[in-house]
Amino acid sequence: MKFEFNSSEPIYRQVAEQIEDAIASGGFAEGDQIPSTTEISKEFHINPATVLKGMNIVVSKNLIEKRRGLGMFVQAGAQKRILAEKRDTFFDEFVENLVREAQNLDISEDELLTLVKRGYQQ
C-alpha cells in the first residue's frame, strides 16, 4: 500500500480512495486483513480520527468489514464492485475531459478515435 496525499481534497476522503484503490488493484485481496487505523495513522502521520472517518466510508460501502477484536477485512466481491463503480464514473471522470481537451486542441472525433486505437495497440 502506498499513500500519496495532496491538499486539494479532504484527507479522510483520500484515505477512503486509497484503500479502495488498493482493493481494486488486488493489493488487499478479498478476505485479507487491512492495516489498522493506528497503523495507517502512524505510517502516514494522520490523525487517527481522520483515518477512521475514511475507513468508515469504505465500511459503509460494504467493501470492508470489522471483525470484533481482530480488525478490518476485505469483503467478498469488494474488488468487483469497486471496478464496477469505477466503470460507472469512467465516462464522467475521463471521457468528458478527454473530449473537451481534444476540442480545445482542434482534434476531430475521427482523429481522437484513431488516437485511442493507437493507445490500445501500444
Binding site: F5, S7, S8, E9, P10, I11, Y12, T37, T38, S41, K42, E43, F44, H45, I46, N47, P48, A49, T50
Partner: protein
C-alpha cells in the same frame, strides 16, 4: 472528561502586548496545533496556562476550576518546552523517579520502549545532553507521565529527520493507546498538518483562527485562471493572497464561496494549511490583508 479553558488572558512585557484577550477551549482527546510566527506569543501562552508565569488579566481553568496555585489541576498538565527546568547536574534516572513521585505515576513500559527506540542513555546527567536528546528526554517524560493535557512547545527542536519521524509515529501510537489532549506548538506546520484535529493560529498576541482542520481546509480555495476572469470571479470574496505567473493569476480565498458561476477558464481547488498560515500571518510577499479594499 476534562476541559481546559483559557479566559480573557492578557499579558504585556513593558509596553509590548504579548497576549491580548486570549479565549480558547481545549476539549478532551483532541490534538491541537498552536501555530504562530516567532514572537506571536505561543510560548508565553503555554507558560501562563501551566502557571509558570502570571497573566496580567484573565484565568485558566480545568473543569471550571482555576489552575493557579492548584496542585490537583496543575498535575493534569505537563508542558515540554525549550526552557530547561531540570538542573544540569541531575541524572536522568533521578529526574524520572522524582517526576513519577510528584505526578503520582509513570508509564515505565512505554518509557523503556521509547528510551530504546531513540537510543537514549539515561545514566547521563541532564546538562550533558545534546539539543536533540534534551528534547527527546523531555518528550519521553511528556508521553509517560499520567496527565490529561500534554503541552508540547516546539517538540522536535534539534531532532534529526529520523527521530522526528519516529516521534510523530510514537505520538500517534501513544495517543491511540491512551487518548488524551495534546497541544502542539510548532512552526513546522507541514509535519503536523494531518496529525492535528484542530488548528489555532496566534498572530501578534491574538487568536486569528481557531477551528477543526477539516472545516478550515474546506474553506480554502485557490482560484486559478486568466487574470481578468479570476478577479471577476473572486470579487467580494475574502482574498488573502495571490500568485502571478505571466497572465495567469491565482487568487487564494479563505471563506465560503457563494453560488456564483464559475467560468470555464477558471479552476478551483483547495490549498493547504501551511499556505493558509503564511497568508493569514501576512508573511507572504505580495499578499495583504487589505487586498479587497
Amino acid at each position: 472528561m476534562s476541559v481546559l479553558e483559557v479566559n480573557h488572558i492578557s499579558k504585556s512585557f513593558g509596553s509590548k502586548h504579548v497576549l491580548s484577550d486570549i479565549n480558547l477551549t481545549f476539549e478532551d482527546n483532541k490534538i491541537y496545533g498552536l501555530l504562530g510566527r516567532n514572537g506571536a506569543g505561543k510560548s508565553t501562552l503555554l507558560s501562563i496556562m501551566t502557571n509558570r508565569n502570571f497573566a496580567d488579566n484573565g484565568e485558566v481553568k480545568i473543569d471550571s476550576e482555576d489552575v493557579s496555585d492548584n496542585d490537583s489541576k496543575l498535575g493534569l498538565m505537563y508542558l515540554m518546552s525549550e526552557v530547561n527546568l531540570y538542573a544540569d547536574g541531575w541524572k536522568l534516572t533521578q529526574i524520572m523517579k522524582d517526576s513519577e513521585s510528584l505526578y503520582g505515576g509513570f508509564d515505565h513500559q512505554l518509557a523503556d520502549h521509547l528510551i530504546q527506540e531513540f537510543g537514549l542513555d539515561v545514566n547521563q546527567k541532564f546538562g550533558k545532553l545534546s539539543t536533540g536528546y534534551n528534547s527527546i528526554f523531555k518528550l519521553i517524560l511528556a508521553l509517560c507521565l499520567p496527565v490529561r493535557f500534554v503541552l508540547l512547545d516546539e517538540p522536535v527542536l534539534g531532532l534529526d529527520a529520523n527521530h522526528r519521524e519516529l516521534f510523530y509515529s510514537e505520538l500517534i501510537q501513544s495517543y491511540s493507546d491512551n487518548p488524551r489532549t495534546f497541544i502542539i506548538s510548532t512552526h513546522l506546520i507541514e509535519e503536523v498538518a494531518n496529525i492535528i484535529s484542530d488548528v489555532i493560529v496566534l498572530d501578534q498576541g491574538r487568536v486569528i483562527l481557531n477551528q477543526p482542520v477539516e472545516d478550515v481546509l474546506a474553506k480554502t480555495h485557490s482560484v486559478v485562471g486568466p487574470q481578468k476572469d479570476v478577479e471577476q470571479y473572486t470579487k467580494g470574496l475574502n482574498v488573502i493572497g495571490h500568485d502571478m505567473m505571466g497572465t495567469i493569476r491565482a487568487n487564494y480565498v479563505y471563506g465560503d464561496l457563494d453560488d456564483r458561476i464559475l467560468p470555464d477558464t477558471v479552476q478551483l481547488s483547495n490549498f493547504d494549511l501551511q499556505k493558509l498560515f503564511i497568508f493569514l500571518t501576512n508573511q507572504y510577499e505580495g499578499s495583504g490583508k487589505n487586498e479587497n479594499k
